[in-house]
Amino acid sequence: MTVYSAASSAVGVEAAGARDRSAAESRQDSLFRWALAGSATLVLVVLGSAALSMLWGGRLAFQTFGWHFIVSDEWDAVGRHFGAFVPIYGTLVSSAIAMLIAVPVSFGIALFLTEIAPNWLQAPIAAAIELLAGIPSIIYGMWGLFSFVPFMSDHVLPWINDHLGPLPWIGVLFRGPPLGIGMLTAGIVLGIMVIPFISSVMRDVFRTVPASLKESAYALGSTTWEVVWKVVLPYTRSAVVGGIFLGLGRALGETMAVTFVLGNAHQLSASLLMPGNSIAATIANEFTEADSDIYLSSLIALGFLLFVVTLIVLAIARLMLSNLARREGR
């Protein structure tokens, strides 16, 4: 009897202990889950509050200048009148030049890595191209200023002036003093910087094309080029566009490299050889010099515009890329 009751009370104590422990553990579990959920929410909060804080910081400029802030090309720190057309134009034009260079080159690299190169060469070449993405943008800037700019002004720009300058219609883009710094140089440097991003997306999506599709085309007697152009590219079109937009988003927001080679000149010029300015370069160059509230506010407003534009471009890129992922069943 006593033995039984002792045993049963021991069982009771053990059961109570287990209950306590499982209660404690479920408390710990929900605490853990909430901490993780909070961290995940933080990602959303950062993006949202970044946009809002810059809208708030730039409100003075938006209120004072209204839509003149976007269309006026007068940037006058002394007269305290700020119109951002020159940097906006510079950002768009230098990014456009970058894409004109980077898209065909990236396509060529992806073609080489997926169809031409022997197996043993693919991994090392791909790693080397990705190293381009690892080099910090300040290094691109220094190399650009001390090495690439003199090269452009000594060898490339005089040739462009002589041969493309006299052309009708587009000639005006290529006439100007061979300074080296300017829109064209900045566009080329940007193009090099985004090549690794676009080519690695293209290479990855080219690899997702089912082998049976490609083999069918080869069996019908297609050449490698015809398979890539008529089978692989149509199959991966939306993801390829996504990769291009990803590169565009990078090019639009790139700061330091552009700051070094663009020339920081608030003037509008039809020639691509003339110095200009971009949104990011303007902010980087002038932020510490901003001596009035309206100046500072105008720079933050510029940052807000840049943020909104890159958000839209990157969102399009991700949507295009996720289409392919969904079709793959991933």
Partner: protein, 287 residues
Amino acid sequence: MQSPRGLILRRRASNLVSKALGVAATLFGLSWLFWILVVTLINGARALSPRIFTEITPPPGADGGLANALVGSAVMSVLGVLIGAPLGIAAGTYLAEFAERRPVWRETIRFVNDILLSAPSIVLGLFVYTIVVRQIGHFSGLAGALALGLIVLPVVVRTTDETLRLVPNMMREAALSLGIPRWKVTVQVLYRAALPGILTGVLLGLARITGETAPLLFTALNNQFWSSNLNGPTASVPVVIFQFAMSPYDAWHSLAWAGAFVVTMVVLALSVGARAFLLKNRMDSNA
């Protein structure tokens, strides 16, 4: 109608031309890498001396080193990782392990994180400027570390999320069937299995912020002298490179090259090392 022979020749020619252009594009891309690395290494090696690591940044026309900037960079980068990595690991764990009942919410966060991953870093610097620097009224190394932490965050979220999803379900089921609470399963089983991937993400994040310049311009600014006060303006190598390279002084240019050399070496070692580390661990686990 053209002759079949002409058609075949033309198709062969276009095939050949496209392949030649593919090779040319690859050589074009590689030649830039080669050019940039050679210029940085040659100029950097020429400017490198022991003084770089022992003396502080000089005024114009004098000799000096980069010691204060190197220390500032190291401290802010490490702090940035300490801010960004734990939050990133936690958020990535939530996405991979705890959000199965809220797929829409989960995909929204993944989408926003991917956007944050490629958002311009200058914008994050402006963000920290408006919410921290402007409120406290002065530039601060801590604000710089916070901006860098925000750059590390999405990198770590992404890699943690992806690595945890690769852990076989058998491990979760085996651990849960023993009655182990989920937080212990996550911390003691899943993290152990996913550790190489998570560490790679942290290293890649560190590589990314080591050369970061733009966000520091508005947060940590720069400091020409030794400073033990992290809550004041703090020097960093990239910002010093920017300031010195844009100056007209030869001695400053030379220091900027030395800084560029050190930054490039550190960044390349980190990113190559991180990838090699991951590759080695994958091969070990496959064997």
